[in-house]
């Protein structure tokens, strides 16, 4: 296995870039008297975060809950749907075009439907996250299931494996790298779907999610809070992606070239 640079050498370069960019932004805002309603000073964003740690953590938790539920739902449903699609070419031709629908439907358009069916709040927001993140899971899993090594399929057939055994012991494990790829994309999209969902159907008040904070802060001209919420939402996305990467590494560490760098 090739060498991985130590944890410090991995984190230090991007961290340096972040610090430098923040400092440069602070200088720019002060030097050019950029109006607060256009772009807040990084220092005021940080000050806001330092002044409201508990509130922001609660908001983060609310958003994270919905994002996790939506992501897990799309992971499970996506893989099952892909399995269903790979089984029969007729089913595939009939239904695959409609999975693309999940990719393209604008949440804004269906928000009223979400409120009517699920009531505003966690369920609707999680559904929004689910809808937005479903397609990559289906597409990548399906690609993986359909590209199983033909020779291995022959081998299984030679030994009289049932279709179920072929699926469970061959196709699904072989598709794991593809599934992980799909989940990587889905993780980021789930966070986006959650935040957008909160814009539209999130609940205000105590424990409101990050998306709700963003919309309120924008309306009330509190750009420091706005940017703080956006920053934390991005970090949530990063965290979920890191979790998927970690899971991918654990699953694939023994066998796949992509996990051995």
């Amino acid at each position: 296995m090739t060498d991985r640079p130590g944890i410090f050498r991995q984190i230090l370069p991007p961290l340096m870039v972040l610090i430098a960019a923040t400092a440069a932004t602070e200088v720019w805002v002060r030097l050019f008297h950029v109006r607060m309603f256009l772009f807040p000073r990084p220092s005021s964003v940080l000050r806001f975060m330092a002044a409201h740690p508990a509130d922001l953590l609660v908001s983060l938790w609310t958003t994270a809950k919905a994002a996790l539920i939506g992501f897990l739902a799309s992971a499970v449903v996506g893989v099952i749907a892909a399995i269903a699609l790979c089984g029969s070419s007729l089913v595939r031709r009939a239904f695959y075009p409609y999975t693309v629908f999940f990719q393209t439907v604008p949440i804004v358009a269906i928000a009223p439907l979400l409120v009517i069916w699920f009531d505003a709040g966690l369920t609707s927001v999680a559904v929004s996250a689910f809808i937005v993140s479903l397609f990559p899971v289906i597409a990548n899993t399906l690609a993986g299931l359909m590209s199983t090594d033909a020779a291995l399929e022959d081998l299984f057939r030679l030994y009289g494996a049932s279709a179920w055994a072929r699926l469970w012991k061959l196709k699904l494990p072989a598709a794991t790298p593809n599934i992980v790829t799909g989940l990587r994309v889905a993780a980021g999209l789930a966070v986006i779907g959650t935040v957008v969902g909160e814009f539209l159907v999130g609940v205000f008040g105590a424990g409101e999610g990050l998306g709700v904070r963003i919309v309120s802060a924008k309306k009330m001209g509190r750009t420091d809070e706005l940017f703080a919420a956006v920053l934390i939402a991005s970090l949530l996305g990063l965290a979920m992606l890191a979790a998927v990467n970690l899971a991918g590494r654990l699953l694939l560490r023994h066998w796949h070239a992509s996990e051995q760098d």
Partner: protein, 195 residues
């Protein structure tokens, strides 16, 4: 065709389909399974219980000389070792007929010769029929009791003869004059067939 993976254009294939094992040109191991679980795969697919199939797999791997590598994964094995796992997997069902399709072609000369010797020893131990496809005249000479030479497509039989060499094939045999003679015979037959 013998394995049932393809259909003949003329003639027929008559055999008892049970008890066939196959070794491909690539080892085709499942990369997410250990060597032991790979070797046990055929028995697993046939529904054999876990303890019994693992025992059989261990036995086959020991025969092939991979007892130390049972918990390793294919990504950690050399080409030759992967092929040996593939062989062990083929043997684990105690087949009556073993089909091999240029299994050692991708390996280096020395590994290839060693595996030929190992295969011949396994055959001596188990007694199953072995059908081995190769493009190497030396390999054919070393391994076979009987050689069938085919033309290129559409394949027809050019020659079908017994190989006149001692039953016990040792490494030293390769330097023997008789060995070279048989190799020559096979080579000529191939030329006649236009291969």
């Amino acid at each position: 065709m013998i394995a049932g993976l393809d259909q003949p254009t003329a003639g027929s294939v008559e055999l008892d389909r049970r008890g066939i094992a196959f070794v491909f040109q690539d080892a085709h191991l499942l990369p997410w399974r250990t060597v032991l679980d790979n070797a046990a795969l055929p028995l697993e697919l046939m529904g054999v219980s876990r303890p019994r199939r693992l025992e059989a797999a261990r036995g086959a791997l020991q025969q092939i000389g991979l007892a130390d590598a049972m918990q390793r994964y294919p990504a950690q094995l050399s080409g030759g070792m992967k092929m040996r796992v593939s062989l062990a997997r083929a043997l684990v069902t105690e087949p009556k007929l073993l089909l091999l399709d240029e299994p050692f072609a991708a390996l280096d000369e020395i590994t290839r010769q060693k595996l030929d010797e190992q295969l011949r020893a396994l055959w001596a131990a188990h007694g199953m029929t072995v059908l081995f496809v190769t493009h190497s005249t030396a390999e054919a000479t070393f391994l076979a009791d009987r050689a069938v030479i085919l033309t290129r497509r559409p394949a027809r039989i050019v020659e079908d003869f017994r190989i006149d060499l001692p039953g016990e094939r040792t490494a030293a045999l390769r330097a023997d004059a008789r060995f070279a003679a048989v190799t020559r015979l096979i080579y000529n037959a191939l030329e006649r067939g236009g291969a």
